[in-house]
Symmetry: D2
Subunit: 309 residues, 4 copies
């Protein structure tokens, strides 16, 4: 099933499970796939930054996509296809769509500066992957170095009907959501799905601002699902209470670099992954860091039984 602009709920961002020797841990791949759906996710994304996509070669990426898509049994899997050039982006996109992926995710290429460069980039990208392939626009300036103004996002949305979801992780970004939602209402931009990233660091207010859900890798996707559900049911205080209980860990998890290691460690403690191993160059995961994560989980367990791991 292909993704469209009604996407909502939680689409987790998945790590790539590795064994301690750096090879792909296929058992954990399967377990993780099941875990996300059991946690209530509507789908998930592979081969993003958290998925260490850049550390895998072309064959490995395809093998991972094939395994996950098959295991998902028709539920939506999004595949990150950002690449230094359009030929590689096209190859990967076509192959995973043939396998049954629901959509691809594309971030702006490194070094783009002006509005015109950015909009041209996405026209070329869509031309490369094919305009029949639904895609998620990743708006994550802290990682990509490319800043897209509200106007640029609107222009990309307007020029490319196959764009169905905005993965919103600009920072600060709350007013961007309000502006885009306003444009949808006044008819100056077509309706898209907005799912938020940034490990959910602002999910509480992003939900208040009207996003459709989350598309991020926090290691408690089940909490994200519950928070989104509460917010949509209008139970604002409860949503904030739940969110606030998790915020100390969310904030810790969100640190660039080491945050990936932390999320893998938590997923291991939760029994999803066999190993928290990352491929080189991997961020340091010091004993102090590990102790701090354990401490955060222990404190969280007072409020949320899911953290008793």
């Amino acid at each position: 099933m292909k993704l469209d602009n009604t996407a909502n709920g939680v689409y987790s961002i998945a790590p790539t499970p590795f064994l301690d020797d750096g090879s792909i841990d296929w058992n954990s791949v399967d377990r993780m796939t099941d875990f996300y759906f059991e946690a209530g996710c509507d789908g998930f994304t592979i081969l993003g930054v958290l998925g260490e996509a850049s550390k895998m070669d072309a064959e490995e990426a395809l093998a991972l996509a094939a395994r996950v898509i098959k295991r998902a049994g028709g539920k939506p899997i999004i595949v990150g296809v950002s690449a230094p050039g359009f030929a590689a982006m096209r190859s990967l996109s076509r192959k995973v769509m043939d396998m049954g992926a629901a959509a691809v995710m594309i971030a702006p290429g490194a070094g783009l500066k002006t509005d015109d460069q950015i909009t041209a980039y996405f026209r070329n990208a869509v031309d490369a992957v094919g305009d029949d392939v639904p895609w998620v626009l990743q708006d994550y300036p802290h990682s990509t170095g490319v800043t897209m103004s509200n106007n640029v996002v609107r222009k990309v949305v307007t020029e490319n009907p196959s764009l169905v979801v905005l993965k919103h992780e600009d920072w600060p970004g709350l007013d961007k959501i309000t502006t885009l939602r306003g444009w949808e209402k006044d008819g100056s931009m077509r309706r898209i799905s907005i799912l938020v990233g940034n490990n959910g660091l602002f999910l509480d207010f992003e939900l208040d601002r009207g996003v459709d859900g989350a598309n991020t890798g926090y290691a408690f996707p089940d909490m994200l699902v519950e928070a989104v559900t509460l917010a949509k049911a209008g139970r604002r205080e409860e949503a904030h209470d739940l969110f606030d209980a998790h915020l100390p860990l969310i904030r810790y998890d969100q640190q660039p670099g080491v945050g990936l290691a932390v999320r893998k460690y938590v997923l291991k403690r939760r029994g999803v992954l066999s190993s928290a191993a990352m491929r080189k160059p991997s961020p340091a995961f010091s004993p102090e860091t590990r102790n701090e994560v354990d401490y955060l989980l222990a404190r969280l367990a007072r409020h949320d039984v899911r953290a008793k791991v």
Copy 2:
């Protein structure tokens, strides 16, 4: 009294109070100065980023420093002197030290890349301001664009005996603290004071890692003082509980750009500033943002009476 490497506790970062017409609000300057010391701060820093230093001309900066230093009555005031060139840095430093400032704060200049460029920069800066002027090294890559490795910090500390405080706001930065503290212990780096910034977003664990206090602009410096005191008294759980209650607001406050507007707004609500006005180019402070801050304060007030404003 000059600052030295035993500095500890809380040194707030102060905004510059403006009236709605953009002129300096001298009554609020005095009230703010009193407020910080009544809140238990050991001193505070003016003319940093939060102080909108770059939006003031040379005469205004000197007038502000004179007023604050006089009002502080001998308590330590640190003055940000970062400038595009050394002549301006020298002028401002000499003048504020003559007025009785306790120290100056220097960030690495824009565009520095290699380790050698960074260390040369600080040798030149110390040569410009005079090696008898104690200074605070601001390590804030997200704002300056200059990343200083652990080794570079050590080299700058070693080459410049007048450096007394590291304002630590690298991100992620917890392991950096542990490494630097380790070097102090094994004798490979002289002892400096480490005070943390980043609006205190990681203050809980930074205290666990052994920092001496905070040097940041969160609008509840009294909470920072209490958290530091609890941590130093070994009351770790209480320190974390207090911190966690404030974390939703700390996190909101920490957003680049808009965070400055939020902090001014909270200080106005607390009765410290008459106006939350910022000079151009000022970040947007939307009605939605204002409502969210009000909501955060209301939620915080359940845990901390100081937020009942």
Copy 3:
């Protein structure tokens, strides 16, 4: 006399003459002022990058401007007023315009990214300096880090009638000239003066593309004057021949950083400056570099008697 959009010919960029001890060399300031006009320049710019503006404090900058403007006796002097903030930009602009400056030069502030940020910046800058002050837009991405698309330049030109000259040093930039000139012709952009920078590295073809002249610091402004004159007289081959003879030195001079030291050295050899001293942080000027410049001058002297120095 104020600068307007009919500016053409050569406006040199002037260094700030220093004595070996780093103080301003007032005798050389006067000699240099005379030199530029004797060389045929229509005016010149002070306090740009070549003028080491960032290494001077506010009083020095004003004193230099006063001396040069007086010495110029009514001929146009442009003053660079780029600053980290608008208050300092306003102070300097108002003061030098009162002294009789012809215009100010403004570059985009560091860190601007999106088209909307850039255009907002210049609206704020014009608001700060006053919309009655003619100004030169410096388009030099390699130095400022800010890339302005053709569309953004047009928008800035359109929104700010006080913009009279584009100092064009984008790279590559030849087609940008053709596009802007085309827009002037088809009426979609008002007429501005385009003067080129980049040490003249592409002056030959920039003249072919229709620019009005040069606004750059090559140490043979008399050659620039002659080349512009030849080109405007339709003597294309002669213009290229003259240019090509100078190109080995132009190219050498144009190197970032060290190029400033080279230009000061050549101006010293030409008898304009008493010293080639730069303020710290100054680029290295190695004995090898000096020998190479001497060699280039000796080779140039075969073609151009002005290089016999």
Copy 4:
């Protein structure tokens, strides 16, 4: 034959010949391979920036390498293997070395900042490709965004014995050559080959400073060969005369982006390529640009018969 640290002379950087429809033009690949050796090159490099490596997918890159290496018949071919991650770098390296490549070329990865990050990167890269694979270190900050100080280059050379050539295109970079050559002489750095890039824009003085040759894509590699030969024979004036005749075109060719299109166009005019087509996103190649290149070639033909094309 593997490349070692005695490499000298000219190793051109080759474009990837495409037909107008964007597919690889195999006939031109063969003709180009022959051309470089007939021009006197000692070898050449494929899959660099000029080779549009990022616009090809993994299979195409391998097919190109196979064809060129076979055609070269044992003469040295260097293959660019820079990639976003080490897995792809390893895959490509192993495969092309098995095919008979002489060496691989590696540039520092995007986003590296501190000296420690850079040196760690190359240790990891060597670990990935295997320490038996000779490699060329590409030092091209303008393109990679990574600046390597002299000390960092020395450390990378020292830590990685398989590094055999420095492709030097730092800018300004003449003193860097002198420093490195000095370190070789005083024994503080082992001997490496230094070949220069930057389209040869400073080749004249780089030869004077002691480099071993060029590794760049100027469309007259036969001129580069002659200039290197003259310089090595101590015929300095003749080397400079030859170089200066080509400098107007070299300078034009060296423009970022459009320079690649210019070089392909010149190679087409010289009969090497059937088409000057580039893959998307390709730089604009305007009619004005084409006319200017034709004009430069016509002027060059007065001095150098090779330009009569």
